[in-house]
């Protein structure tokens, strides 16, 4: 049905087919939800695009199932269970506790949502999210997520390649970097009333990093619309970098010529660099990055952290000749 590119880190389909929970969710959705209307079985629904009717151009669901096809990117390890993915989050705009985002992010209004596009690009201005992300052409990608705090997850994201979105704004040759800005609403984001970081949260990528095949804009996970605590309605996913680079709830994209400021780098420059590539050889000044705690499985499970989080084949060439300890 699908022709998969074979990557070394790819595994057989049944390895990555999610465990009971994922199937159960799918079944419940398929039998009770929108898919039931089309009269398809849960099995067919799993193959995505055949299942649900594609969203009409310029519209997006704000809850529930997202029509998508399965993508080429998978990993061998089992998926992190849905409750862990959506219950253990760093999203300091809603509080510094890991369960704060799940508790408080519901206050965020994600519809309507628009994104300001600024800087060195032919198409700039304010765009509705539906016009930035084509909800009729979503794919699922299973990526590792490695947090700088030395824990990791495996998450099935739904979204679109960042490259295609950025290309649609026709950046000029002066656009050497791209900066992203998170929403800042002191009423809805209770964590921003306290200066944990200099709000709003900002992140950035070098243009070639942003155009890399792995860079992804997610609007969903586990087949459904992104829960608010995971960065609804649209977030970045750059799986070869520490999790904080994957900025959430994006309201602004700026094409710039100089390396942009990033929040954690501004907060503690010796701890968090601009690149923030996952690198087991460069210890965080306060803890080792050699291995990571695997969230959601056996409580004692650890795995060795891999260079670029296991994505060397796709990304290492971008850093050829660079000292990655110096440029951490």
């Amino acid at each position: 049905m699908f022709i998969h590119k074979k990557h070394p880190w790819q595994s057989r389909e049944d390895d990555v087919t999610p465990k009971g929970l994922y199937l159960n969710r799918r079944k419940i959705i398929a039998s009770g939800g929108a898919l039931a209307l089309t009269g398809l079985s849960a099995c067919e629904a799993q193959s995505g695009q055949d299942g649900a009717a594609p969203a009409a151009a310029g519209t997006r669901p704000t809850s529930g199932e997202l029509a998508h096809r399965s993508g080429d990117y998978q990993v061998a390890d089992p998926l992190t269970p849905y409750p862990a993915v959506t219950g253990y989050n760093n999203f300091y705009e809603f509080g510094v506790g890991k369960d704060d985002p799940a508790r408080y992010a519901g206050a965020l209004t994600t519809d309507p949502w628009s994104i300001d596009v600024e800087g060195h690009a032919a198409r700039t201005g304010t765009f509705a999210l539906e016009d930035v992300v084509d909800f009729s052409d979503l794919e699922e990608r299973i990526y590792r997520l490695r947090c700088v705090e030395a824990w990791s997850m495996v998450i099935p994201w739904i979204g679109v390649p960042l490259a295609s979105v950025l290309a649609s704004f026709e950046p000029t040759s002066q656009a050497r970097y791209v900066q992203f800005v998170t929403d800042l609403d002191r009423d809805e984001m209770r964590g921003t009333r306290f200066p944990v970081l200099d709000w709003p949260y900002v992140e950035g990528l070098r243009m070639d990093e942003a155009m890399n095949e792995l860079a992804f804009l997610a609007v969903g996970l586990y087949g459904e619309v992104l829960p608010n605590q995971n960065g609804a309605p649209v977030r970045l996913v750059v799986p070869w970098k520490y999790g904080y680079k994957s900025i959430k709830s994006i309201v602004k994209i700026r094409f710039v010529s100089e390396q942009p400021e990033t929040s954690w780098n501004r907060s503690a420059p010796h701890e968090y660099g601009f690149y923030s590539n996952v690198n087991p050889n460069r210890a965080h000044p306060r803890w080792s990055q050699r291995s990571e705690r695997v969230i959601g499985g056996n409580v004692f499970a650890r795995r060795d952290t891999e260079m670029f989080n296991g994505y060397s084949e796709q990304v290492a060439h971008m850093y050829a000749g660079m000292d990655l300890i110096e440029n951490h």
Partner: protein
């Protein structure tokens, strides 16, 4: 106050056991949650139980330490003398939670990562020398050890009360080290270490003011 018979009965018969069980409660809760977890039952340790355990034991140790520092001021302010009977067990509880905190770090992090006990010890030493917040935390714990060892009545007699008291003033620098350990550990600008630090600062200021007040009358007394 001692004339209140209810309070006197409470002080004489209930204060010590009640304090013991209150101090043991966090440990009992933690052990219970781990038992649930290991039996595959729903538990309150979240999705990263090891991290939760580290934070919980560390927070508990610091908070009990702060409570132990508050005992004397509470006695001064309320004139309720019997509270001094539980000061030692409060201080010792801080030591036990700090010890558990270190053992949990050693066992659940360093040992699992290294695979051998010697590897875990080597990693601990590396952390102590390389990582400022662990240097601070370990220094605080090392200062707690002589206080715990000399907490018995016999040791107090052996040392003499002046020397014993001098030794136990270590609690002030070690409390500062413990709060700094917490502050240097968290990411970004977070509130919790500042709250602990604020309470500690208030307790230290109280002691300093008290010491000055006690010293001041002396010169005038020698003049007269």
């Amino acid at each position: 106050m001692a004339r209140n018979p209810l309070l006197r009965t409470f002080s004489r018969h209930l204060l010590k056991p009640l304090t013991f069980w209150l101090l043991a409660l966090p440990g009992i809760w933690l052990a219970w949650q781990w038992a649930m977890l290991l039996n595959g039952q729903p538990h309150g340790l979240g999705f990263n139980p090891i991290e939760t355990t580290h934070r919980f034991l560390g927070d508990t140790a610091i908070r009990i330490l702060l409570i132990s520092l508050a005992v004397t001021p509470i006695r001064d302010l309320t004139k309720w003398g019997p509270i001094m009977m539980v000061r030692r067990r409060i201080g010792l509880a801080a030591f036990w939670y700090a010890l558990l905190h270190i053992l949990a770090y050693l066992g659940l992090d360093l040992f699992i990562e290294a695979g051998t006990a010697s590897g875990a010890m080597a990693a601990l030493w590396r952390d102590v020398t390389d990582r400022i917040y662990i240097t601070l935390g370990m220094s605080a714990f090392i200062l707690l050890i002589p206080m715990a060892i000399t907490s018995f009545n016999g040791m107090q007699r052996l040392l003499g009360s002046r020397r014993w008291q001098g030794l136990h003033r270590l609690v002030y620098p070690l409390a500062i080290l413990a709060v700094l350990h917490h502050g240097f550990m968290v990411k970004g600008f977070q509130l919790a270490p500042w709250i602990h630090g604020g309470i500690l600062a208030a307790l230290l200021v109280y002691r300093l003011v008290g010491m000055k007040a006690r010293k001041r009358p002396q010169p005038s007394a020698s003049k007269s």
